[in-house]
Symmetry: C2
Subunit: 208 residues, 2 copies
């Protein structure tokens, strides 16, 4: 830097990998769906799953719904960044999708369960991990019960799992309360976190 | 945590101390003024200064304009968190103002030069420090020249100082470009940073 030339070349935002996680039934899918509807400039990772399509879900938008055979093929060919067996179905994150989006400079967002988030952190330590929590226990129970696709036993299992998953809070970077009637507020807050992360100078501490 | 009781008592936002800094003439005062006009829920620190009041400035809003005698009394009585002698005038931050606001749970925001920001960091390591930079050298020059209160010599001195101050970027947490025609955008970004900081779980790394 000479006396007459001041360098303003200080600001190089990198694309972010944003991970939306939280306990089962906290509303991760609804949050991602609203972000998608708002046409935010993000690449939305589409997870592959072997579970049956729910009412209102759209192939290739909510999930890629694949057969057990196809999923096992993806595992064998190392096509998945991460995969897990949860609630009697496989879910997995296609590796190529994320690499392509980041390479083109676009922020990538994905929703994933708590165990999956930990694995993503190991692969991409600099990813931004956001933990959604319900307003209170009643909202969580109501949300689990309202999913008519689930049996009594599954409901009990999910409630116990949610309690365990909430204990994983300290491994995340940010916490956002996802209140039933304030889904837009949740998305506003997540967007603020993304904006802030693009303006960060000093790196975050990361709990691996 | 028992099997039937899930704890949601995870989220304890503390009031933030937000420091807006950046090179001379980057527009710190204009940014703070717009935030004030937007009636954001913040305590705006009012700095005391011995410099003459500029046109359009309001006593007790932009600054407390005090005499040299009164300022030296504040120094002697340890009423100032930080003070400095810049451009032929004293500027200082009243200590009690900040302590009272933080104690009442309100976020506090202040604008301060780069040297002052370093001192504030030593006193409040957890403060959030935002560094404003101009869009380019031309905007910075124009802004300095348009302040009609300043002599040719002062203009040259300020330009040289700005170059030095820009080198202090790495001591800050966030960088925001304050472009002349996009002051509202600057304020939106700062607000996003404040929102994000309230949702942080893992503490920031701090460069002391």
């Amino acid at each position: 830097m000479t006396e007459d030339t001041i360098s303003f070349d200080l600001y190089h935002p990198q694309p972010l990998l944003i991970v939306i996680s939280g306990p089962t039934a906290v509303g991760k899918d609804a949050v991602i769906k609203l972000m998608f509807e708002r046409k935010l400039l993000l690449h939305f990772v589409v997870t592959s799953t072997t579970r049956p399509k729910r009412e209102n879900e759209v192939e290739g938008v909510d999930y890629f719904f694949v057969t057990m055979d196809r999923f096992q093929q993806m595992i064998a060919h190392n096509e998945l960044l991460e995969y897990s067996w949860v609630y009697n179905a496989y879910k997995g994150i296609p590796r190529q999708q994320i690499e392509n989006a980041l390479a083109s400079g676009i922020d990538v967002i994905m929703r994933i369960d708590v165990q999956g988030a930990r694995k993503i952190r190991q692969i991409y330590p600099e990813c931004v991990q956001i933990f959604l929590i319900p307003k209170d226990e009643k909202e969580l129970r109501d949300r689990i019960i309202n999913r008519k696709s689930e049996s009594e036993e599954e409901i009990r299992h999910r409630l116990a799992t949610a309690g365990e998953e909430l204990k994983c809070l300290p491994q995340f970077d940010y916490i956002v309360v996802n209140e039933n009637s304030y889904l837009h507020h949740t998305v506003d807050t997540i967007w603020s976190i993304i904006v802030a992360e693009h303006h960060r100078i000093v790196p975050r501490k990361i709990n691996l």
